[in-house]
Symmetry: C2
Subunit: 350 residues, 2 copies
């Protein structure tokens, strides 16, 4: 028998996976990537006012579970996210996530949403925003090494935000490449399936690496990276997991999200703790230079930071107000009198 229906203070909007898919479909994926990118850029430009902390990780032999909180003083957000490379063998996602926005003034949650899809979108949007500032002018071709769950989102974000017209795909598993090529067939991109990483990087101004092995790997060796290239390194994102040969790092100008986190998790875990890096937000606000020459190798050593999730959550929170794509969860106890929590149960039982 249902009890008294939940009061308005108890209800928190919830965006399920199905609702998120409907938001993407209604909005159009490229438009949504561009819109999320605009929210990310807006938040990176006010970087200094955010509460920042490296994510809180719980490591196990098979993977990691992380909480990524931040706040701009008005709104608080956090994401729960896992990373378990072996999940794929069991038909599960390597990375799943959900997130919450809350009102700082009351502490009450205002949004709960799936973030597996949303993380894929915000990761791609962040990569493309970084490339907008760092990639060589007139970049048209991107190599995509690693054709897993993130691949198509990257390709579409670089098309929508950076004007890329060609993607060259390579994966150690050719079925992954075939999957990505099929999914991108009608995207308007020229899609070239490659059988070696060397072939994939041919003629590319931008090289994105996004592989999932939890180990020190060498997806790119030094001789594969010519001058003037922008590297977008996504997959090296936890301690013990890197993708680029150290020599590449030594001849790149390195751009990062939040140094205290990237030094532990990113490609630069291979370097001294004092190796110079530039924070991406400083490039966006004009307080640090981005690309300064056509021959320079730029590297965005991306590990994913809480502010990007915050931006994506803000976007969804605004976006669902113009849609039907959410439900409401009875998540917060709302007794008639706030101190009468026990009385609420007593009266329900009566």
């Amino acid at each position: 028998m249902p009890l008294k229906p939940p009061g308005p203070l108890s209800l928190v909007p919830f965006v399920s996976v199905e609702h998120m898919m409907q938001l993407v479909i209604d909005t159009g994926v490229e438009r949504m990537l561009s819109d999320i990118a605009a929210y990310i850029e807006e938040d990176f430009r006010r970087w200094e006012l955010f509460d920042k902390t490296p994510r809180i990780a719980s490591h196990s032999s098979e993977g990691v579970i992380e909480l990524m909180p931040t706040s701009d003083g008005i709104t608080y957000g956090f994401k729960y996210v896992n990373g378990h490379p072996k999940n794929m063998r069991d038909g599960k996602q390597t990375v799943t996530a959900f997130g919450v926005l809350a009102d700082v003034d009351s502490g009450y949650p205002v949004l709960l949403t799936e973030m597996t899809l949303l993380t894929a979108l915000r990761t791609a949007a962040t990569s493309a925003v970084a490339a907008k500032y760092l990639a060589p002018e007139g970049s048209r071709t991107m190599a995509m090494i690693g054709n897993g769950a993130q691949c198509e989102f990257q390709a579409l974000a670089f098309k929508a935000i950076c004007g890329i017209d060609t993607v060259r795909l390579y994966d150690i598993d050719s079925r992954a490449t075939a999957k990505a090529a099929a999914n991108l067939k009608s995207s308007g991109l020229n899609v070239v399936a490659c059988s070696t990483p060397e072939q994939a990087v041919e003629g590319a101004q931008i090289i994105t690496t996004c592989t999932a092995d939890k180990q020190y790997a060498t997806i790119l060796t030094d001789n594969m990276v010519g001058s003037g290239v922008h590297l977008n390194a996504i997959g090296g994102d936890c301690p013990g997991k890197t993708e680029l040969h150290r020599d590449i790092l030594l001849r790149s100008d390195i751009f990062v999200e939040y140094p205290p986190q990237t030094r532990i998790e990113g490609e630069i875990q291979q370097l001294d703790a004092e190796h110079p890096v530039t924070e991406l937000w400083q490039v966006m606000t004009g307080t640090a230079p981005g690309r300064t020459s056509a021959r320079q190798v730029t590297l965005f050593d991306s590990v994913g930071f809480a502010i990007e999730d915050f931006s994506a959550l803000r976007y969804v929170n605004d976006r669902i107000k113009r849609s039907e794509h959410f439900t409401s969860l009875d998540l917060i106890a709302d007794p008639d009198e706030p101190r009468d929590l026990y009385g609420m149960i007593l009266r329900a039982a009566a």
Copy 2:
């Protein structure tokens, strides 16, 4: 138009506030407090194998939002909880919470539940478990200073777990006392409404303080605490918020949950960082003494620790398997092929 229904890997059991109330009503509140206490005791006895970290707090002028994660290596849990004393003025809860359990091996969430009610239950259960080890033998009377949302849960937990038969209530707001007295009328406890804190502590072997002001307060002065008493101090639980006069601390043997957190948040923030304290789990496992004499003043300086929430989440996760009191949320993206996240959207749109 609904898309393809969510696959089984996408679904996470969700316990709403209404479902939690139904669980309490079906189980009986005293039985549920006792059962949660048993889970807490079980986890405190294996304290050493947990990942432990002080909670991650985001402070603002009006309150705090915290994430409280822990893991036993098999299961991961965390709670989102706020503390906003001024919320009451707006008809909102001072403390609201929700929590998640997840499988460490895959990182997949296995339970999402409201925890406003559950936190009230676990806080009371923890207090009573501590008192079982620390309160003087034959304790029958508890003074309850602060008659807010936590009050009745404390009274019932001490009745169910410690054999208390009398509670003496005092609150600075007599309406709160009247509310608690009315709610406890049919509980089987002798309920004495008092008009001063001095009157409330008369003849009490256990004194529980649970007030909500975010400030250094002196709910108990030194002369109010006689020898042989057990103090259960709940309300001093964040930096700048204490309830007991420092002199009381200096003549008490102090027991805490997790010293790195309690030194920042508990009553002992008033003391030197080296002041000796005993960890409650050590008393439970017999590796440290609890109460050693009838005249000793024992103080459980409780701030609430992640392992208590973990125990409560474990309880709910087990309990709902014998009930109908949950729904399932489509929280985790579950494409046909794990790497084909984008294809899932494409196919839904087709």
